[in-house]
Symmetry: C2
Subunit: 303 residues, 2 copies
């Protein structure tokens, strides 16, 4: 295990009880909604988005307590999106991180409600004075997370993803998206939350507009690398298993960069995204080592 | 039409374009998510919750622009809850206000996403400096609306409603809830948003804790009256049609006060709730006439 992976796991070990505490405080009694929320949120995940919040907050001397609450709010939004995306009406997934998805472990109604409650709780956490003493900072966090998650961000990205699969066309055939369309889609579906992760620390720490913009671009580049790596893994896992260069994303008509421009070109775009992420944070010197390592990790995953 | 109904309709006429403007600003282009959000939000409804926000804000000299944004945020949350509650996995309703529900007009995935986007947009609207110059006020509005809508409020109320129907019991038989259980359930499912409606103006206007608590209790009483009136209408519509004292709520195992304690006792509770609502705002004198009339309207509806 690399030093980065050790650190990532250590942070994840602190995120887990913080999430559990927030869930416990948010529900009046340990009923069905609570159980489904806990199933969705606890016991797994690399917690990469929280890690980026915490490490970018470190650049500006933000307390871990403030950074942790913000990191947890973001993770709640990420987990809600997984619960809803897994639903039968969306991607219809039975397993997530090796466990039954929420609608399988409970039922569809409970999964919809638990997702709604997680999304709502994220904003409640950010708006609480414990997250930051200045109301304007709390409101800015709420506004930025809402923009990243909503109809101009993650929700729109998921809708375009479903549309690209041909879900809403008369013949049900996937659309052939070009590189720009794929990047725009993934920038909304995946990139927007990574942008929030990287800028939240700057908002908490009262950083300059310049630093905030720089970190937003770092988050976008990291998100791009993360998604291309994911799509390449799908292609390659399938290549190895089936002896041909088409993955299950390709067959499902998923909008991916390897499908749009080919594997070799996608690999070059991945390298460029990682270089961009690295360059953007060199200004912070060695204090940004964790952010650089996080980008490399996101872009070079083997799982 | 009464003077109150004329005023309610006039306010609804101003809420409608304000909602349309917020939707237009929130979506990057008029795509499928936007169309589904607009279908859910525009072109109907009495806008009783926005009316209460605006009239309670009037008590504290809040500008109509601030009150209107807050009123619209609340209406977005109300509309999201209708979209998700109507889904096949929940109440499986085909019609809403005489038009197809969102999942019928579009599809289930789009309805889930549009609901998610409406909920998210509500918090974005509240957190925007246009809603109030003080960040602490904006954050307080976000926190209060999140509490009202989330796992200790509306979401938990809907979960208990589904549970009461016997949805999650082995034999699928409805539970027999007592009066306290029904009131607690409806206080979360319906009452919490009315409490927010009545207190939001006090938050915007920097009212005293005493006035805020008073208006919160007014909102709770109004919400109770609203729900009992709704449940009585169901019983009576059915009584007239079928010549017996059991409504479709009763057959569906819905948790209602007429089912729990009988029609006559429920009618007495309705009268008491209206008296309580009226008493709570007498301290504001004639300036609270609109709030008194709103409670009477909520409790004496014939549709």
């Amino acid at each position: 295990m690399t030093a980065f992976e050790t650190d990532l796991m250590a942070v994840a070990g602190r995120v887990e009880p913080a999430l559990a505490d927030l869930l416990a405080a948010a529900t009046p009694e340990p009923g069905r909604v609570h159980a489904a929320m806990a199933h969705a949120v606890l016991g797994g995940g690399k917690r990469l988005r929280p890690y980026i919040v915490i490490k970018s907050a470190d650049l500006f001397g933000v307390s871990e307590a403030q950074a942790m609450r913000t990191a947890c709010a973001l993770e709640l939004v990420h987990c809600y999106s997984l619960v809803h995306d897994d639903l039968p009406a969306m991607d219809d997934d039975a397993l997530r991180r090796g466990r039954p998805t929420v609608h399988r472990a409970f039922d569809e109604a409970t999964a919809i409600l638990a997702g709604d409650a997680l999304l709502t709780l994220a904003f409640e956490v950010l708006a609480d004075p414990a997250t930051h003493p200045a109301g304007a900072v709390r409101a800015a966090l709420v506004a930025e997370l809402a923009k990243a998650a909503g109809a101009a961000g993650m929700v729109e990205g998921q809708m375009r993803d479903l549309t690209a699969e041909g879900r809403f066309s008369d013949d049900g055939r996937p659309l052939a998206l070009g590189e720009e369309d794929v990047l725009a889609l993934q920038g909304m579906k995946t990139g927007a939350l990574f942008c929030f992760a990287a800028t939240a620390g700057a908002i908490l720490g009262g950083a300059s507009e310049e630093d905030r913009a720089r970190l937003s671009r770092y988050g976008a580049a990291l998100g791009r690398a993360f998604q291309i790596a994911d799509d390449l893994l799908d292609e390659e896992a399938d290549s190895a298993a089936m002896g041909k260069e088409t993955g299950k994303d390709r067959e499902a008509g998923k909008a991916t960069l390897p499908v749009a421009i080919g594997i070799a070109a996608a690999r070059r775009r991945l390298g460029a995204a990682l270089g961009e992420a690295r360059d953007l944070v060199t200004v912070f010197g060695s204090r940004a080592d964790a952010l650089t390592a996080a980008a490399d990790f996101a872009g070079n995953r083997s799982s």
